[in-house]
Amino acid sequence: MASTETKTALELANEFVEQVDYTASELEAEIKEKAKKFRIPEEEAARLIRNSNEVETEISGPENESETNQTSTNFSPTPIKEINQASEWHDIHVKVIYLWERSHDSMVQVGLLGGMEENIKFVTWEDENGNSPVQKLEKGESYLISNVVTDEYNGQYSVELRSQTTIEKTDEDPTHKEAEGIFVDYQSGSGLIKRCSEDGCTRVINNSRCVEHGEIENGEFDLRIKAIIDDGETPHNVIYQQEATEEVLGVTLEEAKQAAMDELDLTIVEDMIDDRLVGSFVNVKGPVYGDYLSVEKHTELEGVDDKEIEALQNRVNTGPESSGEVQNTESTEA
């Protein structure tokens, strides 16, 4: 990065000297020393110092001081999109999207974390002894991270992992939702469909007509399923896009097109959905767009496993009997 103007350490110090307990010259020295020690630009060193001072002297650590017992009970994640203040402590549930090259020696890790709807940069710095204050994060894994500190640079927010930070790995991808139940039905517009071929329009066309562009001669074929997965409480709308549809039906778009042309029947894929999916118990996971969960992982649940049966047997063999006895102790007041 070619910086257009390089500020001197003193100029940098003067920018935030009121916020800290140092004098400007002490600060200037500190900036120079850190820049030298960590082989980073003075601007970066100034940022480091400013951040640590703001956070450590002004807001004095996380609210829940109990360092131990950082369990899920008091873990209350902040949605990433709600992080819009610097120097705050938060808990976050995130997935590691990228790990970037470290930009200087004192950096342990830097990368991008994904939440439900937004992403945020994270960074971990070495402590005074040159050690990492926390365990390293792995790309593609999801974590419950307690007590990160927010920072802001050019209007972009980021979080820093500190010694107060605790990290717990989780199987739950924060960017995904899950639905489990019976594939009870699918909506019209499922199967082999045609989309409008006008530039930038992907509307599904019916009888060669696009609602926006009228008569379309050569629509483009696509595969998708708009399904309803019913868990007994809620019918969830889920959508299988081309790739997911190809996978669950075991047929490629090309094969489906060919089969439909051979049979002169576009509903041939709907028959496959009826045969293979309707009436099966499934678990689906994926990101949510609007009203639809977009399926990235589809698991068919066949039969029940011992764990589920044992949990149910525990429930029926312990639950009702004891509560029944309690109910029998009627009022004995005279």
């Binding site: 118990f281 039969g303 049966i309 044992e310 009702p320």
Partner: protein
């Protein structure tokens, strides 16, 4: 599809022994301005069911009417029987049942052609001689298998227990309504569900050898 289309109702997992008692129906006030106001059957455990899903063995398919063509089918589940009335209003289910009806003109399916089916549909009331019966207008009849039925049984046990718990804690969604309308033996249903649960065999219960920890 219009925007004010009613939102789809969930398919309630319910055993025949509970569903068959759900003879009281109601409509929700907030639905009254809809063209096809949905009907709910009040389950004895105090929940309304507009749509249900059951599983069992399809044993008979009988033509009971020609115009509109109507097939009555009997499905036997773990707690009892359910009757389906499929007509041309339920084209999907009707065509499946027609396919499953024996070719030789008989109504009974035999050991060779009996099928495990999943039925998704709407409960309805059939007027008998001097009694009302709960039957099902099937939307879908799906040929299934024993493993899927095991899962359905487990899920239905779970949901039935949830409803029983809610009812016994007096916080079922339609608690007072169910208390006023039914004289139902909830304890018996709980017993039955418990027996069904314990009849499932697991690896640890089938070869129940004490494990020595070495």
């Amino acid at each position: 599809m219009s925007n004010n289309a009613p939102t789809r109702n969930e398919a309630v997992r319910v055993f025949a022994s509970e569903l068959n008692e759900a003879k009281v129906t109601y409509q929700r006030e907030e639905d009254l301005d809809q063209q096809n106001t949905p009907n709910y059957h009040l389950l004895p455990t105090g929940k309304g069911a507009n749509r249900i899903v059951i599983m069992g063995a399809l044993t008979t398919v009988t033509k009971v009417k020609d115009d509109p063509k109507t097939l009555r089918s009997r499905v036997v589940g773990p707690t009892g029987e359910s009757f389906l009335y499929a007509s041309t209003y339920n084209p999907d289910a009707l065509s499946t049942l027609e396919d499953l009806k024996p070719d030789d003109g008989s109504n009974e399916l035999n050991a060779e052609n009996v099928q495990t089916v999943m039925v998704i549909g709407k409960p309805t009331i059939i007027e008998g001689n001097n009694e009302q019966y709960v039957a099902i207008n099937p939307e879908k009849v799906i040929i299934s298998d024993g493993e899927t039925q095991d899962r359905w049984i487990c899920k239905t046990i779970e949901d039935t227990l949830d409803r029983l718990d809610a009812y016994e804690n007096e916080n079922a969604p339609r608690q007072e309504y169910a208390e006023a309308k039914y004289n139902f033996n909830h304890y018996e249903l709980r017993q039955k569900v418990g027996e069904m649960t314990n009849s499932f065999e697991t690896n640890s219960s089938s070869n129940a050898q004490p494990t020595t920890g070495d």
